[in-house]
């Protein structure tokens, strides 16, 4: 059974992911809509604060970035576990477009992708089952220091280490 990991813990999923568009009056509470359906819903949808949107890995969020960034939840579909497009998309939403809500990955997610997702700003990912969910949580802590700046490390290692050295921090 698909298991949600949120903030590095197993969590209950109280959102409903809608694969296909649903007519506006029938959209349930806390629904995650496909991007196209949400755009079609216009101002009525944009006014709702309990609605999320999901994006395909090849989506270009640039045109709607400000509206998307105001949503409580954005989800990115990972169609195959070795498909890294969602990583760039997530990183852009978090670091360039200032999205502060829940950033969720769903689809074909291997636990070993979790460290990458986490560093690209995802705070939620849906794993295949409970064992995979726990493996994903464990995987995030496997490497404690990376070289690059990321959503979890605003500075690259060379700046961090130089700053720590200057401040006399071990």
């Amino acid at each position: 059974m698909p298991t949600l990991v949120k903030n590095l813990g197993v969590a209950r999923d109280d959102w409903t992911l809608l694969e296909a568009p649903v007519a506006p009056p029938h959209v349930p509470e806390r629904a995650i809509l496909p991007l196209a359906a949400w755009l079609e819903g216009g101002a009525a949808f944009k006014a709702r604060t309990d609605m999320g949107v999901w994006l395909a890995g090849d989506a270009d969020p640039e045109a709607n970035a400000a509206a998307l960034a105001a949503l409580p939840l954005l989800a990115i579909h990972i169609p195959a576990f070795a498909d890294g497009r969602g990583l760039s998309l997530g990183a852009l939403l978090r670091t360039r477009y200032g999205f502060g809500g829940e950033l969720r990955a769903f689809g074909d997610i291997l636990p070993d992708l979790a460290p990458y997702l986490h560093r690209c700003g995802f705070d939620a990912f849906v794993l295949a089952d409970d064992r995979a969910a726990h493996a994903a949580i464990e995987a995030v802590g496997a490497i404690t220091g990376h070289y690059q700046a990321s959503a979890t490390a605003p500075l690259p290692a060379f700046r961090r280490l130089a700053r720590d050295a200057a401040e006399g921090v071990g």
């Binding site: 070795a82 760039s88 500075l155």
Partner: protein, 552 residues
């Protein structure tokens, strides 16, 4: 050379533990073959025809004597006592067990080595000029920038799951010994008029199924922008590179689809967001890494001119080796020596544990404890005092590492081919040997001059056949092994892709075909004209005719 900081060492150690855990989960049945494949590939482990193959990273081809001894030791304990030098300056072991790989990686980590990203759809080992730092024709030492790029590319959060493998090469000398025009990104480091290091970026070169020459996408980029500009290119590639067809997934295909100016526009727009951001290199960081590559203290050497002249007169073999395998060093009194692995009867690039130990000893005895691996699959000793060349030559001869054929026909580049590789259509090693046996006359080879003969066992082009002056590609015709021959490729400054002669040949025909090609060259060449020049001047038609006549 670069030595790990505590931070670097911890990263490598934790990576070993991470991979050990991944292997354990696979063996416990928690990961499918397909899932584990992606994980093991990112740690250099292929499952080959006969056994797993582990590719160890040798960043930009630089090894210490200590590291080389560790590789020799690994080949003894986990393999059959030999290793293979690859065209990406790495070392491969063909016979480890899957279960032993975490232990091998732990051993490697004790000497600051790893197998991270030596395969898989990610940023591969950064390569450079095997003479970097010592070449007489070098403007800027590219190694600090290679190391900075290596660190940046190691488990990058965004770019470890790319559409396809991604190869970056840097070159800082007048001659392009790093083949920058046939890499996904080629970076040329030079000093500008103001005396500052700057980069010219090429994008979209590559071999494989659709060979392409890279185009210039940025000129004169200041060094502090190295990583942010790379990030911009990689982000565009990661987002827009094709993932529906692995044969159309390299950045060269994206560059063709977008056109080079179109790609440049996207990259520059992306870079505008990143420029001067936290990824910008600091002067302190560049200086820190450069300090690791400061030239060693070169001692004043006694004049060896008379000694060398006397020995060269006395021994034609030593004379040939001096002429072909010894290159000019930037420090007076020193030379750069290439130890050829291309002895007839030995698969190109294969070296035994005994040879590895010997080369390590020579690096200590005749140098500063450093060894290089070149993309032509040879060892290089970068700092040999001229007066010690005769002694080194004698010892190398005794170890079968003094073949005086560097740059000549028999110094061929060759992938492991169908003897080992499960991707190969055809064997390449027996063919290389057949050619070496046919053309083993030292004077004849020397008269022919520089000829790059490159052999790949399949379209993946690990043997770089497209850029061989003579390229040979193994093809499958209804289950039988055949070989397609091309002429006029070149990996150097004026890179070009070879033109295919025509229908492929059977393996036993290939030596006759090569002989026919060489006969035409000898007949048509003007004075000391190089082979490549001659092919470019007269075109492939005369060669084609003789080749097919000889194939009978």
């Amino acid at each position: 050379m670069y030595r790990y900081t505590e931070f670097d060492q911890r990263f490598i150690d934790e990576r070993v533990a991470q991979y050990r855990q991944q292997t354990r989960r696979y063996l416990a049945g928690e990961l499918t073959d397909e899932q584990f494949q992606q994980l093991r590939l990112r740690n250099g482990l292929y499952i080959q025809r006969l056994a797993p193959m582990l590719r160890v990273a040798v960043p930009y081809g630089t090894l210490s004597a200590t590291q080389l001894r560790a590789l020799a030791d690994i080949s003894r304990r986990y393999d059959k006592g030999y290793g293979h030098l690859t065209t990406r300056q790495n070392v491969q072991f063909n016979w480890p067990t899957l279960e032993a790989v975490p232990d091998i990686l732990a051993d490697l980590a004790t000497v600051e080595m790893h197998a991270i990203q030596t395969s898989g759809s990610c940023i591969r080992n950064i390569t450079t000029d095997q003479f970097a730092g010592v070449a007489a024709d070098e403007a800027v030492d590219p190694r600090p920038y290679c190391e900075i790029t290596r660190q940046w590319s190691s488990q990058h959060p965004e770019f470890d799951w790319l559409p396809r493998k991604f190869k970056i090469a840097l070159n800082g000398a007048a001659a392009d010994r790093a083949a920058t025009q046939v890499h996904d990104i080629g970076i040329r480091v030079r000093r500008d008029a103001a005396g500052q290091d700057v980069f010219d970026f090429l994008v979209g070169g590559g071999l494989g199924r659709t060979p392409a020459i890279g185009g210039v996408i940025r000129e004169g980029l200041a060094v502090e922008h190295l990583l942010t500009y790379l990030e911009a290119i990689l982000r565009i590639y990661n987002r827009y590179g094709r993932r529906d067809n692995k044969y159309k997934a390299r950045i060269k295909i994206l560059a063709r689809a977008m056109t080079l100016p179109g790609l440049k526009e996207r990259v520059d727009a992306e870079w505008a967001h990143l420029q001067d951001g936290p990824g910008t290199l600091t002067a302190a960081e560049i200086q820190r890494v450069k300090a690791h590559f400061a030239p060693p203290a070169y001692a004043q050497q006694a004049d060896a001119t008379a000694l060398l002249a006397e020995r060269r007169l006395a021994s034609p073999a030593f004379n040939a080796w001096m002429r072909n395998n010894v290159a000019a060093h930037r420090a007076p009194g020193y030379a750069i020596v290439t130890l050829s692995t291309k002895l007839t009867g030995v698969p190109p690039g294969d070296v035994t544990d005994v040879q590895m130990d010997a080369v390590a000893d020579w690096a200590d005895a005749y140098g500063h404890g450093e060894v290089r691996i070149g993309h032509e699959q040879n060892f290089i000793l970068p700092d040999v005092p001229l007066g010690q060349l005769p002694e080194l030559w004698e010892r190398a001869t005794a170890q079968g590492l003094a073949a005086a054929n560097l740059g000549l026909l028999t110094d061929m580049v060759c992938c492991p081919g169908g003897d080992y590789c499960s991707l190969a259509n055809a064997k390449s090693i027996p063919l290389a040997e057949a050619i070496q046996r046919r053309f083993d006359d030292r004077d004849y080879l020397h008269d022919l001059g520089q000829i790059d003969l490159n052999i790949s066992g399949c379209m993946n082009a690990c043997g770089h056949h497209h850029v061989g002056h003579i390229g040979i590609l193994g093809v499958d015709k209804k289950g039988a092994e055949f070989y397609q021959v091309s002429l006029g490729g070149n990996a150097g400054d004026d890179a070009s892709l070879g033109k295919i002669l025509g229908p492929s040949f059977g393996r036993e025909e290939v030596p006759d075909v090569i002989e026919g090609i060489l006969d035409v060259f000898v007949q048509e060449r003007r004075e000391a004209e190089p082979f490549l020049h001659c092919v470019r001047r007269i075109g492939i038609e005369p060669f084609r005719q003789r080749a097919y006549a000889n194939a009978g």
